[in-house]
Subunit: 345 residues, 2 copies
Amino acid sequence: MGEPLNERSQNILEAIVEDYIQTAEPIGSRAITKRHAFDLSPATVRNVMADLEDMGFLASPHTSAGRIPTDKGYQYYVESLLQVRDLSEEFRNNIEDDSRFAGKNMEDIMQEVGNLLSGISSYTGLVMAPRFNSTIFRQIEFVRLSQGRLLVIFVSESGLVQNKVIEPGIDFSQRELESITNYLNHRLPGMTITQVRERIAVELREEKTRLSKLQKQAFELSDKALQGDVSEQIYVAGTSRMLEQSDFTSHDSMMKIMRTLESKQQLIELLDRSQSASGVQIFIGSQSTDSKIEGCSLITSPFSGNNGAVGTLGVIGPVRMNYSQVIPIVDFTASLVGRLLDRES
Amino acid sequence: MGEPLNERSQNILEAIVEDYIQTAEPIGSRAITKRHAFDLSPATVRNVMADLEDMGFLASPHTSAGRIPTDKGYQYYVESLLQVRDLSEEFRNNIEDDSRFAGKNMEDIMQEVGNLLSGISSYTGLVMAPRFNSTIFRQIEFVRLSQGRLLVIFVSESGLVQNKVIEPGIDFSQRELESITNYLNHRLPGMTITQVRERIAVELREEKTRLSKLQKQAFELSDKALQGDVSEQIYVAGTSRMLEQSDFTSHDSMMKIMRTLESKQQLIELLDRSQSASGVQIFIGSQSTDSKIEGCSLITSPFSGNNGAVGTLGVIGPVRMNYSQVIPIVDFTASLVGRLLDRES
DNA sequence: CATTAGCACTCAACGCGAGTGAGTGCTAAT
DNA sequence: ATTAGCACTCACTCGCGTTGAGTGCTAATG
């Protein structure tokens, strides 16, 4: 598999991939010699192309068309041929333009980051906010709703707000809730939600000996509040950009993609894989996932602030994607979001 | 314009609209006589159809095809011919299935309602949560972020949570914030946000004479927190359902629609018109709006709880939509959501 | 021996024209 | 007023030749 492509083959493969990315039309031998100043005749190029096809880097839609890159071809291109340029000053300024985020809460910021990714890359932008369980607890509030129902609001170090409804069984008075809130807000900050949960479990186990009634209630309540996983927050922007791609002309492929983009669950699965890695990751075509996003590539990067919150963002587009542009965009945006997270803490 | 259609014409128009909704193919005179037991010959039906075309209720794609309803035709059908059946027991039970909303916060409930609308109607579901300014204030909380930035969290009577970030200029201590929070939470509940805002303005004008420093700070802070409009919360579900419609085959129409569905702003404009009315409203095709959702119809209904919060929900689909099914679905769902809002207060 | 010119070959894409059939509008008969 | 009959229209389909970009092979070339 690790065929040692000689330099000429590499150059030609690179030329084909780049031309194809630009034109979306199969590339013929003659086109190559014209657009690039290789000192080669079309015939020679044809021979090389035939070899590249044998090795699985290229494919021909039919005999009398040019060649198009296979997924393997793209992959080789991305891994070995592509050199990522730095982002142009203009782009960087555009991305970093703070006014866009001014006075926005985290939710809106995440959405705005999605818009940004989509707008600049002209593909579809994805943002997965940091998993709530891994974020650092900052504050908790309880609001009484009707019939013994309580609204619990958590705020994390990085300014993320989550709320859920619980039914604790006991009807606490406003005063009791305030005390409980106070107690918890003095004891819990600084730990991740997961740690908080463990702490609560420990405290409750040792309850009989040490805890006052208030303390016990406080822990029971927060235990209830933290039960069950909070659903991931996913933000998608620019889905219609997908339809603009000349690659997805068939109804079928469009629908498949749009359905996937609608399903938070599927997006989570896609983005999850990138969560643990560091730096930009690239998933190309079928390699990336079993036909769920057939014909698509995914460029992702985790982002994280100093306080340990880790999320993922990325861009999804056709395999025939402008990698050299998108990769630095994703990279730079991820670092920006990291900084935004820190800003709040 | 108000032509008095005789009964026979009405029957034939109705038959054509219904058949067309079902088959999506132009309806010919012979097809009518076959599928419906009018005691008429195709020729007679043809005459009637020609009349209906003259009056603008029908159109023929080309001479040798059957007729299809015009927007005006649909409109007449919906207003005068269609009788809305009650929702079947099955549907009602399905919609009312409470487990779907169990333990969910308002945000998730709204999203779930969108899914419900989309799932049952098999078109695209839209939900616009009650305007925050018109909801009744229940509780406010402040969370200190870094650098003098404050996170403000509002909770409304119906359990809606909103948060925003403000920079008050002064760096309040945690204790001060608690006092301010306390003070506000005892003074403000029961009013709508708009009323709260007015109240604050009044209090601040009279400040010198009566208010303590704390009170003054409290009002100034909440004034700041309430400045600027909170963006509407819009939930869209089942956008890919739009692509499934055989009516939108052209790239162009698809993209137009998907773009509109992505733009919160445009959706707000669409749903806003229905906000003030009561009961189900139907916007058909071009009538509904200038080409933004060309070829689409919109069925909406406002929903409201006892506490005055008013939102809008609806279904958007092709003009060739199954009105008799969708209308009761929207109606029933709106009343359900009204009840869900009350549940919290 | 790698490269290239030359050439026959392939095949999607395009355009054209005949055939088909669903559906219409008109006219004359009932 | 309704209907049977009939000529007419026109989108749609299918087959067929033409076109041209591009290929693979072979033989010539430096």
